[in-house]
Amino acid sequence: MKHRVRNYSSNSTAHTMKTKLVRKYPTVKESSHIEIKSTIYIKSKTPYISAIKRISKKLQDPKPANIKYITIMGMGKAVEKTLSIACYFQTKKQRKVEIITTSVDVIDEIATEDNEESPVSTEDLETTLKKRTISGLRVKIYV
């Protein structure tokens, strides 16, 4: 995973000083074996067609065979893409599709200001963790 570094102004803190976002954490995943096999995560970078192909493959040949639906997850910027994938399976493929909106908690790792030494690399920075909530989507496409 790449550690992306960028500056952004945090709105929640009172002072307007720019804090350094060291890393954005992924969502918390506690999946069972079946969930791992039947869930597909959509990123904003995921190509639309390859997502469609992957889901279609899973729907045609579900493994393990007893799963009832495939779950597609998307959050933030990827919500729109997730929805359009859901629409595709609903209208073009006549699948039963269920859409559940949720809010997802994620963690940001932010550099603390009391780094008296100035390290060359951002990975050496002292950090604190901060919670952030974003909108997410869970789509169930039935087999």
């Binding site: 954490y25 918390v28 506690e30 791992i36 390290p119 990975e123 002292e126 950090t127 963790l129 919670k131």
Partner: protein, 851 residues
Amino acid sequence: MSTKPTESGGKKTLNKNQKLRKKRVRNARSIRAEAIIASKSNTSNELTETGGILKVDQFINSRHYEINQLQIAMHRSKRSSSTRVFQALPRKLRRRTASHNIRRIPKRMRNRAIREMTKSAQQNPISPGLKGRKLHGLSSSALYKARMQVKLLRLAAKSNSLKLQLPEGATEAKVNLRQRIKLLNNAIKSSKRTTILKMNNRMGSYDNTGINEMAPIPRGRIKYYKRQRVFSWLPTHIWNAKRSHMMKRWGFQIPWSATQKCFKLSHRLGNSTAASDGALCIDSSFVGTMILRDNDSTGAFLKDLISKITNGRAILKKYYSSKCFFEGLLYDLNSHEVVLGPFDLLWINDVTVLLRLHPSLYSDLFNSLLQFKDNISIQDCRFSLASITLKGSKSSSALASILRSVGPSKSFEQLKLISRLTDPSVLPSKTMFAFNAIDPRHLANPKKITKPNKDLSVEQIMSLQTEFPATEFSSVLQRLVDPTERENSYKNQQTLKGLARRRRNLLLSDAANEHTSTIPHDSINDPSIPIVIIRRQKSMDWVVVMPWFWMLPFWYQLNRIPRIFNVGLRQVQQLNYEQRQLYFPDDYPFTSTGYMENNLYKRSSLKAKWDKKPRARRLNFEKIKDIHSVTLPSFTGEIGDYFSCDWKLLQILRNGIEFLTKNGEEVNMIESNKTTQFDDHKNRIVTVLNDLFELYKDEISADKVDDVVPVKFATALSEPVANKVSTLLDISTQALAIVPITCEVSGRGHPRDNARIYQIPSEHKIFWHNVVKGVYRSDGRIDHNQTIPLPKPHHLIGFITSGTFHLSEGRGVGNGFIDQKFAQEQKDKYILIRNVGTNVYRVAHWDYIHV
């Protein structure tokens, strides 16, 4: 010669068993069919001249029956060839070695195996063993011992120096053999030590730490001692030797790769992807642990020392005060320019630090630190601390299911909390657990932590860092780094028999215990094992550190969990490549270990492979055409060494070009009206590019054992090196700065190890830019058959150290190094890649690797 005609007319007669077998196979292969006879009752009235009426239901039923029979027959015929029960075992459990030996077959299958063996014409499956039979009135083992004694005596009698060692009378001629042996036995008895080293356990476990000296190799069974003198065994050696290809390197016998095919498996499980549903584990005890303790209570000397060897990084607040786990580069004590390799570090308190080092670096650093013996005490824990490295989403749940803490422990609670997590990249940078664990064999088999009612929340993840149990953590760590405490942890370490006895007694004592196979921990007598679990952020894996002789019980338990697979160093390398990280030593050509690995070890093995082939079957590197657009008289065909990344050539070439263009001149290929010239000191004068290759040939043919590394490490962030190549001598002595890069081929083909990297010549920029965008044929497909413009030899800027097809990218990806000067000047980040021995160039997009 007269031949007796055989009964079967030339064919070999089959014995009873073979006939039986043949019959069985034939039976298994026969498929029953149900011909549709349009059912007898209907034949008369419904069959007309135009044909009968097809009864669809009957027809379908009969086909259904036939398909079923076909499938059954296929299944039967497959099984009929496997005649023995062990052949029906899953692949993982099959052992070919001594499969006739009934004791090697799993117990639950033994009865069937005995039945099968007695049926076949083989000898009695249950051999009486060596002890049973008697020859010359002695059992075979006793006979062997007696013969050995005689042999040894003969040897002793021959050698003068040994004769002097023998007791008086033993060498006299009139004394017979029996008397001699008696005399010798008496001598042995009298010289035996009366004081025997007492151990605190029945397993023979002890703490083997060298304080201010290198530790000796661990004492084990004498039988196996001789074969460990040069390459010692890891705690799991016997387990691993049965399941992996082992390699003898760096003083250890290390699992190189699992015997089972596992390339795709390790890609799927080992990478941090959402699809991983298992874990990979490796015995990483060969990574040496060193503990440094400052004799002074301020710890200033140690801090200064650590600052020196990490170039000032490991003493930053994050590592020194907050005690996060450090992964970084190890620098030479005397020079912050010389990198030795990667290593790990953890501050235990202000005066104690724990280092984890690759075995090739260990002894050098240890010996160079010995000069500070007065200021610091150095513990060599290579053979007293063992470790397991786990990778994959199931790692944490696997660990939680084999580990149990001795008493209530906050750290263990935290481990349990996150054990069900399948994506460990959500864990904060300081994720470590340390607690006193009970003997893992107390659990009859690994038991999963039961699922809590509530799902794991973000707050709980954050609490790992905010509510880190610092005091508990450091107290366990103190135990782990203390030799006496490690020794104490072995106290009353029980044998498997002892544990089984306790388990049986537990069952017999109370019928209620029928379903609990866990032996309760006795806090007074049972050992408590200090154990540390570290989540490594950069390597994205888990490291479990524990005392050396406790490793094996944990390892056995761990490998009983489903979807946990053992891997070797090859898979570690594969995963490092897939995560676009450098793997030590192969991807560290700027360190002396890595340079030797590339220049000596891998090169000679590749060359030997090539040399072994007949001339007609091997690639003639010299005769490959169309590699460069100009040919120089100094070399033909492939550039540089054919079997390695030729850093020496790159150094001479890049430095030489800088030398030639220092006044802003153009690089001339060749001076056609002059041959090479030498100055008064017989040094070659460099005026054109051809001279540089001649200079390179001089350097190579001088046949110096050159362990001076011609390249040095630079990063994306480091300042452009102001190395002015001003003199002729600088060309071959000034180390070239190279930066690690990863590149992705945009199109077909993939880079291999040692592939050459070229810059795109400015006149070809437009062509390659179009290739990246895609040049299409008239039928709309991408044109792969364009004539490629070739670069010139001086466009060489680097080498790929590890490259292949990347399974998650779905295209060729290579990790390598390029000239720093070029990297910093280039903006569009495209390069050309050419595999060794080919003349096809591929365009690739590159990016920095952050080390």
